[in-house]
């Protein structure tokens, strides 16, 4: 099938960083979960790592525009995300899979992804094709007509990924996308991630260090709501060769960075 390339797709971007946060503060309830975070993310796949309670999920909620930052600046795709007026057009270019992926059990896979495409204001004519493509990319073509309540946890996670990528987002946020996927599906998912990261900014929050090393172009380590370290996966592995605890060099690199950061603080 011939896919027309529109003029807006070829337009050069006018911003340097798809995600640019400075002194960002975001509250989760009364607790300040993101506290003075400075972060710049370019095109590619960024693995967001950190211990439980480090503020990863709150950060993802702020970047997905669901939560309003309580301080600092947050620019997404060149727009000021703290300004309510730009949200509508900005959100058309975002894809988001929350950690707790809620769904309507009576919807079929196709209906659910179509509903999400509609919520993101995709042009009517583009929706059926985009839905089919998204469902194919996550390997659920055979189950497209199945009701969501009949699917396993891993399949639901893939439905969640399909709804997040259906609008070809410029900024894609995936919170723990590999939970419930079996090893083979995780390998397929990493391939998909690399494809997606070729021309958009993908942020993957995960607790699996090996996923980050295998599929990400950049590692972002946060703790207590602040940026601890940002670098290449290879650098993380190299750090792990010198010490730290864990089963793989990357895990050892991760723990040694956290230990160094905490003892310095």
């Amino acid at each position: 099938m011939v896919r027309m390339v529109s003029a807006t797709e070829l337009e050069p971007t006018t911003y340097a960083w798809p995600v640019e946060a400075a002194g960002l503060r975001v509250k989760a309830g009364r607790h300040v979960a993101v506290n003075g975070l400075d972060l710049r993310l370019g095109t590619g796949v960024h693995g967001l790592l950190g211990p439980n309670g480090a503020g990863k999920t709150t950060l993802m909620r702020a970047v997905s525009t669901v939560h309003r930052p309580s301080g600092g600046s947050l620019r997404l795709l060149g727009e000021d995300a703290t300004n309510g007026r730009v949200l509508r057009s900005l959100r058309r270019r975002l894809g988001y899979l929350p950690q707790h992926f809620g769904f309507y059990p009576r919807f079929t896979v196709r209906e659910y992804v179509e509903y999400m495409a509609w919520l993101r204001e995709m042009p009517k004519a583009a929706i059926p094709g985009a839905v089919q493509r998204a469902v194919e990319r996550v390997g659920l073509t055979g189950r497209a007509g199945a009701k969501l309540k009949t699917l396993s946890g891993g399949m639901l996670r893939r439905v969640g990924i399909a709804q997040a990528i259906v609008n070809d987002p410029d900024l894609l946020l995936l919170d723990e996308p590999t939970v419930g996927l079996d090893p083979e599906q995780r390998v397929e998912f990493r391939t998909l991630l690399r494809e997606l990261g070729a021309d958009s900014c993908v942020v993957v929050s995960t607790h699996l260090v090996e996923d980050v090393v295998a599929a990400c172009t950049d590692v972002v380590l946060v703790d207590e709501g602040r940026l601890v370290w940002q670098g290449l996966p290879a650098e993380l592995v190299r750090l792990g060769e010198r010490g730290g605890t864990g089963d793989s060099p990357a895990e050892r690199g991760y723990t040694s960075l956290l230990t160094t950061h905490r003892s310095a603080a």
């Binding site: 669901v66 939560h67 309003r68 949200l87 959100r91 058309r92 309507y104 009576r106 509903y115």
Partner: protein
């Protein structure tokens, strides 16, 4: 399309000549896309093995189209339902209908006492609004909250759904009791608007609880205890209710942006 592809480049292109430069290849391909004549010439130039391969591919595709899965059927009414329905309010519809029915029966039984239908009308939509915005009852709240249609559009759709389920039973009860529709409709709309307006700041659930609780304690309960129909639900208050409903609706639409985020 006057200049067709000269024989030499076409032959080189067909043979996959590696010396053909990119610019020529692009020119040939752009022309081929639009010119059936040159495509026919290309087919004649193709080597027999290539033609056999293409025939095989054609046959396989045809077979795939015939035996493969049917295109997904488009079910318009299901899609309409998905876009409009607030699934979580459905169990609650029965509760509201039951409450209105009970109020109606009591009003029929005791016509001299303050009308329970009128006392119930302002707060009837509030529980539905609270449920439609509740994170606990909407499993997909976090996903939907981050989409472009969150905000004014979902606000209007949800409100329409809630009112469409609440107003018909009230209308039926009001009509059978011979009341003016404005008497129950205007307070209902005013409280709906006030809940959404306050809800943008403190959360719809909390706003519904405060406003609904306030009305029941300050107006409904004393009316039931004293058997006096309060002035606020008598026809003389209608102009005030009309003004409040209008102002409330306008303000709600103006402040719809408050509902774009969840905190």
């Amino acid at each position: 399309m006057t200049d067709h592809i000269p024989a030499a480049p076409l032959a080189a292109y067909t043979a996959g000549d590696p010396h053909l430069d990119d610019a020529t290849v692009w020119a040939v391909e752009v022309h081929l896309e639009n010119c059936a004549g040159c495509r026919a010439r290309l087919a004649e130039l193709a080597a027999p093995p290539l033609r056999t391969l293409l025939d095989d591919v054609q046959v396989t595709i045809d077979r795939g189209v015939r035996t493969g899965p049917e295109p997904a059927r488009r079910r318009a009414w299901r899609r309409l339902a998905h876009r409009w329905a607030v699934w979580s309010v459905i169990p609650w519809v029965a509760t509201v209908a039951g409450a209105v029915l009970a109020a109606f029966a009591l009003d029929r039984q005791f016509p001299e006492r303050p009308s329970l239908v009128l006392l119930l009308a302002p707060v009837a939509p509030l529980a539905g609004l609270a449920i439609a915005w509740s994170r606990r009852s909407d499993p997909a709240w976090e996903i939907t909250a981050g989409t472009s249609r969150a905000g004014l559009e979902l606000l209007l759709r949800r409100t329409v759904v809630v009112l469409a389920t609440v107003l018909p039973p009230l209308a039926l009860a009001g009509w059978r009791l011979g009341m003016s529709p404005a008497l129950w409709l205007l307070p209902s709309l005013t409280f709906t608007a006030a809940t959404l307006l306050a809800g943008g700041l403190i959360g719809v659930g909390r706003a519904a609880a405060v406003l609904g609780g306030g009305w029941l304690l300050a107006v409904a309960l004393p009316a039931v205890l004293t058997s006096d129909l309060p002035a606020v639900v008598q026809p003389s208050s209608l102009p005030a209710w009309a003004a409040a409903a209008l102002a409330g609706t306008l303000l709600t639409v103006l402040r719809a942006g408050d509902h774009r985020r969840v905190n």
